[in-house]
């Protein structure tokens, strides 16, 4: 039998669900203290998530997409990026975004129905949240092409879900990266579900990582609940990208512990047992166990940090709640760089209606 091609896709896991290493940690992560700030960040994100859900439940926020269970993947992605890189999120990777300077109040503004949430003060070139699934993957491929054309050592990182890996834009993004050898890292965050559709219904592919083969990209599958594996995968992919070796597709195996969004009721379509099982593999507890074993963390520290997180986030929540609604003209003012006459006239009219009240 003559072979036209053959491929192997590696699976990375270092820290098992029980918090015990299953393989020697990668060299760059042998110092467990390096993990501590990221662990704390995971806790910060989880605190934020809980509070955001509560805000929605009390009518102070619109539909909100929780990130419960995804913290290791999100924080690991954020940690691996440099400020000058560009991040193209889908809509729930707050952990990555916070590390890049997006503020909780931005998240709340966005889900609170205010476009100013997308006007990040932090990462000026990062993309806004992206509702049309996986279009951010292709946009990021364009960004990566820009970096390549300008010879800039920057990386474009995009996230999408298991559902998103079915989207044609995902394919277009990775294929273009392969065609141009551009610095793109596509992170497929496989949390098992796309709203009510299980991973198995999306594709016949055994892994989502292998979708990268369609464009000749570097492919990896990792335990997305294992921060160490996430960091190592991202290190490999970003280094490849930055050094001109081209793009990657990484599949992060995790689980969506919450409903799809606050508008969803997952009990309609998935069993309780599956969720219970997933809780035994979630990213936070295993890392805590490991850090406690390493004497880097204890209950007192945790209590203090949770309290501090609460305070930090409450400041953000207040900033959000106190922010007045944009004036009516805001719906015209950011449409064009040079406002056409017709739009200007409608703007005046809309303002005149306001004054009438």
């Amino acid at each position: 039998m003559t072979l036209a091609a053959s491929f192997e896709i590696e699976y990375l896991q270092y820290l098992g669900p029980d918090g015990v290493p299953v393989a020697e940690f990668p060299e760059s992560l042998r110092d467990a203290a390096l993990l501590l700030p990221l662990f704390k960040q995971m806790l910060y994100v989880r605190t934020f998530d809980t509070k955001a859900i509560a805000l929605q439940r009390t009518g102070k926020l619109g539909t909100y997409a929780a990130c419960l269970g995804h913290e290791a993947t999100h924080v690991g992605i954020g940690a691996a990026m440099r400020p000058e890189d560009v991040f193209a999120p889908s809509y729930r990777e707050y952990g990555a975004q916070f590390m890049r300077g997006v503020r909780p109040r931005d998240v709340l503004m966005y889900w609170g129905g205010d476009e100013r949430g997308n006007d990040f003060e932090g990462p000026k070139n990062d993309y806004p949240w992206c509702v049309p699934i996986s279009t951010q993957c292709l946009m990021a491929s364009g960004a990566a092409l820009a970096f390549k054309l300008r010879n800039e050592p920057r990386v474009a990182v995009a996230c999408c879900g298991d559902g998103g890996s079915s989207k044609t834009d995902f394919y277009a993004g990775l294929n273009a990266s392969g065609a141009f050898t551009s610095p793109l890292v596509l992170c497929v965050i496989n949390n098992g579900w796309a709203i009510s559709v299980p991973r198995g219904a999306q594709t016949g592919a055994k892994t989502l990582a292998q979708k990268g083969l369609a464009g000749g990209l570097y492919c990896l599958q990792v335990d997305g609940n294992d921060l160490v594996a996430v960091l190592e995968a991202m290190r490999r992919a970003t280094e490849r990208a930055r050094s001109g070796q081209g793009g990657s597709v990484i599949e992060f195996m995790t689980y969506r512990l919450h409903d799809h969004t606050t508008a969803d009721d997952a009990r309609r379509y998935r069993g309780e047992q599956e969720v219970k099982d997933a809780w035994t593999r979630e990213p936070f507890l295993r890392l805590r166990k490991y850090l406690v074993d390493q004497k880097l963390w204890d209950e007192a520290q945790e209590k203090a940090w949770i309290e501090e997180c609460g305070k930090l986030i409450d400041v953000e929540i207040n900033a959000y709640l106190e922010c007045p609604v944009q004036p009516v003209e805001a719906m015209f003012d950011y449409l064009y760089g040079d406002m056409p006459e017709d739009v200007r006239a409608q703007r005046e009219y809309a303002i005149s209606l306001e004054n009438r009240r």
């Binding site: 539909t63 966005y110 509702v131 559709v197």
Partner: protein
């Protein structure tokens, strides 16, 4: 309109009427199937397909991979090979990737093959704003399809019309884009007999008779338009209210007849004004009813900008107040 009310009928909402029509036609025609994202066990994010999976199984109620291009392409493939697929675009803002298949294949299958292959499909689209939803969940993008030959573009605005028009859409031998005004999915209930009676896909409905002014609208704006008519009646202005219901093909005769009587016309729609479908109606008036018009035509529409996120969206949508003002202006002119 003239659905016969059977004794066992109970009042249902617009979205329930959709479900009822789907179930009716699936029971009666084995080639009808439903496909889309989350339409299966979950019953659709708006519950339009609730219960269908349990009733008809996964061969007839199909969760697709998450890709609108895929949904459109599979639908055309199914329709051209003997099935009658009813596809769902989860929200208006997600149907743009479907444009290619709709324009290049659905709308041309019969034309291109001189009738050898056809494409009897329905694309259901929860449409429009005003429900405090996230981005891309609130768009009024019907104009994209109204210039495309070979399509029918419809938008019912009552439970009865939703039921009857969905049945005809499924039975129609050609592709139908079926917009559903999601803001009024659950606005009110109406008795809708589950008798399989279809309604025509080429007529406008006169919802209120009047002599002074014609208000023309479609979709969720029927609500505000009727309210405006009520308010104007209080001022002694007698409005005729027309629900266009089917945009393509347009039943202009009904509109022209009304304007011949009233001499004045205000068109109301949610989509941005410029090149919205209201332009076509105004254009027809300028062509065919010019000598009937006593006052300039008015359009009360969404502004020529994107519908804002929900904190501002109600300021974007045409309000009763804006309709009333335009009507008064039309009455004052000429």
């Amino acid at each position: 309109m003239n659905a016969q009310v059977k004794p066992d009928s109970t009042a249902i909402t617009l979205i329930e009427a959709i479900t009822q029509a789907l179930a009716y036609e699936m029971r009666n025609d084995p080639s009808v199937l439903v496909l889309g994202e989350d339409v299966g066990v979950n019953g659709g994010v708006f519950r339009a397909t609730a219960g269908l999976h349990a009733q008809f199984g996964s061969q007839r109620v199909i969760d697709t991979p998450l890709d609108e291009t895929t949904i459109a392409g599979l639908t055309v493939g199914l329709a051209s090979q003997g099935m009658k697929p009813v596809a769902e675009a989860q929200f208006d803002g997600f149907m743009y990737p479907m444009v290619d298949f709709i324009v290049c294949h659905a709308a041309r299958m019969r034309y291109r093959t001189r009738g050898r292959l056809t494409c009897p499909m329905v694309l259901r689209v929860p449409w429009g704003g005003g429900i405090r939803a996230p981005e891309h969940h609130s768009e009024a993008n019907e104009a994209i399809f109204t210039n495309v030959p070979g399509l029918r573009v419809v938008m019912p605005s009552s439970p009865q019309r939703a039921y009857g028009m969905l049945l005809s859409a499924i039975r129609d031998p050609d592709p139908v884009i079926f917009f559903e005004p999601k803001r009024i999915y659950r606005q009110y209930k109406e008795v809708v007999a589950d008798d399989g009676e279809a309604l025509p896909l080429d007529v406008c409905y006169v919802l209120r008779d009047g002599t002074d002014l014609t208000l023309v609208t479609w979709g969720a704006q029927v609500k505000e338009t009727l309210e405006a008519a009520e308010k104007l009646a209080g001022e002694g202005i007698n409005c005729e209210v027309i629900d266009v219901a089917t945009l393509r093909p347009l039943d202009f005769a009904t509109i022209a007849e009304s304007v011949a009587k009233t001499g004045r016309c205000v068109i109301v729609h949610e989509a941005p004004k410029t090149a919205g479908f209201g332009a076509e109606i105004a254009a027809r008036l300028a062509e065919e009813s010019m000598f009937d018009l006593l006052a300039p035509v008015e359009r009360v529409t969404g502004y020529d900008t994107h519908i804002p996120l929900f904190r501002l969206e109600m300021k974007y949508l045409p309000s009763v107040d804006r309709i009333v003002t335009a009507a008064r202006r039309a009455m004052a002119a000429g």
